[in-house]
């Protein structure tokens, strides 16, 4: 008996030591904290989403008399997939989504790959300029293109003034050009090709031309070299470009909202918006779930076919060189193509918006009709209801909100990226490391509108220690930060990986504690990597619409959402001016960031 209690107490002591040891390692504590946080913000929403689709919602009381909200039901599944309403509610938007998403993804990939090849492998003139010009659309919100399209091609099918096309030619453009699937595909493609370009050019740049030359020496033709050597090496990158583009395009809200909703051409994100906007949350969540499942399916297919982890590392330090293909005279043709592309994607849309913002009466583009009212005019001047952007408290407040939101999201990105990167890299190979990486990746599979829809449901009442956040600015920051997590964690991990493990170990051995290790060594070294991630998330959040359109309230409205509401109010001039203000803010902040962080140069290469 005494023996037993002795061993028991010793076991207890040991256990206490273990706990003390566990707690003494900061990375484990952080991992625990992050696990709880990510579980709450990423895993719970997924369950929440599924649960809401199988329970009775308050909206359903008219259809399900006598049932209490919260009871289990398959009602939503029946209505969405197998009722008289299903065609309008689900199948048609679903088909539209597939058509626009696949169409846009194919064009994006073709365009992105072609441009990547031009920039990386040919002697196109002014390569640096071309490289910058090609990624310019990324700076603009994705729906700017759509707004410009409407400005140009708007016809009398919908109310309000007609567009530039009708003004110039005196003919109304046909419906299929003005609205619907084709314009949506074109507008999405001309924005989202940038992702394909960035991923494929990055991969193509690491393929050593010597590999192809070895093929040439072995007697392979140019085509054969491309098919058997180059293509397989960049295939994984193409695969991830497809997935990334597809998920972004199918979750995109702004463009189909501008170009589809006026003629009731719905895709899943706009259908979700409409359902949730009319308080029919059960159906809305079910549609969101469909989007999530499609994203998962797409990732899964990509992994089965190509394998995400099968990235080829062919970089071999010395002797790495890139063979440039001489385009001969055609290089000027190619250059012209890029310039035209930039005109279509950047100059023309912005130009149209400038023109639009300056017209006194919408639809009249005559010089005599120009006014600065929608920029600086006060209420009651040219337009009795709407003041110019710089006199309009609603717009100025929204602009301030946009900046605040982007700023806080960038800060959250920096902190979370640092913590996740630190823990994942420090505990590399362990289960917690992999689980954390996976959890941080999860928001990727939620299309933006769907994610917004889930967060409304989750935070309309208190969750654990978190109070009900619906309608607060904090919720916008939270969702933007969480949605950014996949990129955040990637930059964080990359930033941490470039810090040699021995740098921190060396400090440990010398008796330097965790806090000063992080302050003096880890944080300064990770900073430069994290800053670029923060800049990306800042710009991304500034122009974000799909994610937050369901969550904003008048007091938390950001510039993008205000522009969207003006779209429904039909004040094209103000839309033009406000959009240009947003673009100017994004570009200005980008330049400012780069200037500021160029000066804080670290003492290492």
């Amino acid at each position: 008996m005494t023996l037993f209690s002795e061993t028991a107490s010793r076991d207890g002591q040991r256990w206490m030591r273990r706990v003390a040891h566990f707690v003494s390692a900061p990375e484990r504590l952080i991992a625990l904290g992050l696990a709880i946080l990510l579980g709450l913000l990423v895993i719970v929403p997924l369950f929440q989403l599924v649960r809401e689709t199988i329970t009775v919602q308050p909206y359903d009381s008219a259809y399900l008399p006598g049932r209490q909200p919260g009871e289990l039901t398959l009602f939503h599944y029946e209505r969405v997939f197998g009722s008289r309403l299903s065609w309008a509610l689900f199948y048609k938007p679903f088909m539209n989504s597939l058509v626009t998403a696949f169409g846009a993804t194919i064009i994006c990939l073709a365009l992105g790959a072609l441009l990547a090849w031009i920039v990386v492998r040919t002697n196109v003139p002014y390569r640096e300029f071309v490289n910058t010009a090609v990624v310019m659309p990324y700076m603009l919100p994705s729906w700017v293109m759509a707004l410009a399209w409407v400005t140009f091609f708007k016809n009398d099918r919908v109310g309000g003034a007609s567009g530039v096309f009708a003004y110039l030619f005196g003919v109304q453009p046909p419906d299929w050009i003005a609205f619907g699937g084709i314009p949506i595909i074109i507008c999405l493609s001309l924005h989202y090709y940038v992702y394909g370009f960035l991923i494929i050019s990055g991969s193509l740049a690491t393929v050593d031309s010597q590999l192809e030359e070895a093929g040439a020496i072995a007697g392979m033709s140019r085509l054969r070299q491309f098919v058997s050597i180059t293509a397989p090496l960049v295939l994984p990158a193409v695969g991830s470009a497809v997935v990334m583009t597809f998920i972004r395009v199918i979750g995109s809200f702004g463009t189909p909202a501008v170009l589809g909703m006026p003629i009731r051409y719905f895709v899943l994100p706009t259908q979700i918006y409409a359902a949730i906007g009319s308080r029919n949350v059960g159906d809305g969540y079910l549609l969101a779930l469909v989007l999530v499942l499609m994203a998962v399916l797409f990732i899964w297919i990509n992994q089965r076919m190509i394998g995400v982890r099968k990235s080829f590392v062919t970089m071999s330090g010395k002797g790495f060189r890139r063979r440039e293909i001489d385009l001969g005279r055609a290089k000027w043709l190619v250059f012209t193509f890029v310039v035209v592309l930039m005109c279509v994607t950047v100059v023309l849309p912005l130009g149209l918006l400038v023109l639009q913002s300056l017209s006194r009466t919408a639809g009249n583009y005559d010089l005599s009709n120009l006014t600065l009212h929608y920029w600086i005019g006060a209420r009651g001047g040219v337009n009795a209801i709407y003041a110019g952007v710089f006199q309009n408290p609603q717009i100025l407040h929204a602009a301030w909100n946009s900046l605040r939101l982007a700023f806080f999201t960038a800060i959250a990105t920096g902190i979370l990226g640092f913590l996740i990167g630190y823990v994942v890299v420090k505990t590399r190979g362990s289960l917690s490391s992999r689980a954390l990486e996976l959890a941080a990746f999860l928001p990727y599979i939620f299309p933006a509108v769907a994610f917004g829809a889930i967060y409304i449901g989750m935070f309309s009442r208190p969750v654990g220690p978190i109070p009900a956040l619906y309608g607060t600015f904090a919720l916008l920051v939270l969702i933007a930060a969480v949605k950014n997590l996949p990129y955040t964690s990637r930059t964080g991990i990359a930033a941490m990986l470039q810090i040699d493990k021995s740098l921190e170990e060396s400090a440990r051995v010398q008796g330097i504690g965790w806090v000063s290790r992080v302050r003096h060594i880890v944080a300064p070294l990770a900073a430069s990597g994290l800053v670029s991630g923060m800049l990306l998330s800042f710009i991304g959040t500034m122009r974000e619409l799909s994610l937050i359109i369901l969550l904003v309230t008048p007091s938390t409205a950001v510039l993008a959402s205000v522009i969207y509401t003006y779209q429904t109010d039909d004040v094209p001039q103000l839309i033009g001016a406000a959009t240009l203000l947003l673009v100017a803010l994004v570009v200005g902040c980008n330049i400012l960031f780069r200037l500021v962080f160029r000066n804080t140069k670290m003492g290492f290469a």
Binding site: R14, R17, D500, E505, V509, Q510, G603
Partner: protein, 375 residues
């Protein structure tokens, strides 16, 4: 007194046992080298001593203080062990200038400012980098970075120094130079040094004691002389020595109380009898221990000269006897061998005999016996 003491230390990585129970006692003030091929557990052992890896079991004592015990799970983290450590990559913090690199730990320990300044000046002077204090590590050559790492060690004044392949990133000339300096540093500081390397030349030139490891198991502990002349087994014999030791399959015969080795038709009568039954054995002889003759004689092995490689003070001869490659080393400069054939005489006192199954040594050479007698 033993400064570093490992008793039954084990280390698992998941289910993989990297270090089976390991016992090692390191006396105070000695320069001890852990030597072995990559993956033999030498770096893991060093990191266990430093506290950067937590062992799975056993007991570790530093300067009489238990810093890890598998029995009660106590573990002193590396920041409380007060050791000096030089990393293979030097681990200089690239965001700090040289002086900050050297003094950061002292600042964190809240040492008085004039003491820090004095120690910094002394350390920089010792490594001859007085003017380089305000440079970034990236602005220095590999050799200078190495010196900064050494200066950091000097300023910290630890009584136990751990070095993890500190010279492997340097070119050949610098390596020889830094070898001398590290040995001098260890001597001047009077510190107990544990040095990890896979380079046998570093081990032989710098150490008081060499610990040869393989697959986490210590093969032999001994002075450089013992390791070279009395290898405990065939692995040690083959790992130490450049060019490599020659290994032959031979037969042991017992004749009138004398032991005779037969290999390639040559008989070598050993000076002292081996208490072992007649049968197959593995014989080894170092390249420099052959006597070379240019004429045929009984009991000499005829070999064809294949390649002649002069290295300066010595010449390596690659020979072939009945298809078996043999390496011989002669202490003079030879560009080409005058005849196509040489005859090798095996000197009995330089022959090593190993058990062919276990690889353990059966006899040791006469030279070491003489040495141990003298001692």
């Amino acid at each position: 007194m033993n400064e570093v003491s490992l008793k039954g230390i084990t280390k698992y990585y998941g289910a993989h046992l990297a270090i089976p129970p390991l016992d090692l006692e390191i006396p105070k003030g000695k320069f001890v080298t852990l030597l072995g091929p990559s993956g033999c557990g030498k770096t893991t052992t060093l990191r266990v001593i430093a506290g950067l890896e937590q062992p799975s079991g056993g007991e570790l004592t530093l300067a009489g203080k238990t810093v890890y015990s598998g029995r009660d799970g106590s573990f002193v983290p590396p920041e409380k062990r007060g050791l000096g450590f030089i990393f293979q990559s030097y681990a200089l913090w690239p965001n700090m200038k040289v002086d900050k690199n050297i003094t950061l730990a002292l600042h964190q320990a809240k040492r008085p400012k004039d003491e820090i300044d004095a120690r910094l000046a002394e350390a920089l002077k010792k490594v001859q980098l007085e003017q380089y204090g305000s440079r970034f590590p990236s602005e220095q050559s590999g050799g200078q970075q190495q010196r900064v790492a050494v200066a950091r060690l000097i300023a910290a004044r630890n009584s136990i120094l751990l070095m993890d392949e500190p010279l492997s990133n340097l070119d050949a000339v610098l390596r020889t130079e830094m070898r001398t300096e590290l040995k001098r540093l260890s001597r001047d500081l009077g510190a107990t040094t544990v040095y990890v390397t896979h380079d046998q030349v570093e081990a032989l030139t710098m150490s008081d004691i060499i610990v040869v490891m393989k697959d986490g198991v210590i093969q032999q502990i001994g002075s450089p002389y013992e390791i070279y002349h009395e290898p405990a087994n065939l692995f040690v014999a083959e790992f130490i020595g450049d060019p490599r030791i020659n290994v032959f399959d031979g037969m042991l015969e017992q004749r009138n109380g004398r032991s005779v080795l037969k290999l390639h038709g040559v008989e070598v009568m050993l000076e002292q009898a081996i208490a072992r039954e007649a049968g197959p054995v593995t014989c080894a002889i170092r390249p420099e221990h052959f006597n070379l003759h240019e004429t045929a004689l009984d009991n000499r092995l005829a070999a064809e000269v294949d390649v002649v490689q002069p290295t300066g003070s010595q010449t390596i001869l690659s020979l072939s006897a009945n298809g078996t490659p043999i390496t011989a080393l002669i202490p003079r400069f030879v560009e080409s061998w005058p005849s196509a054939k040489v005859w090798l005489e095996f000197v009995a006192r330089n022959m090593m005999v190993f058990d062919p199954k276990t690889g353990k040594i059966i006899t040791s050479t006469a030279a070491t016996r003489a040495r141990s007698n003298a001692a």
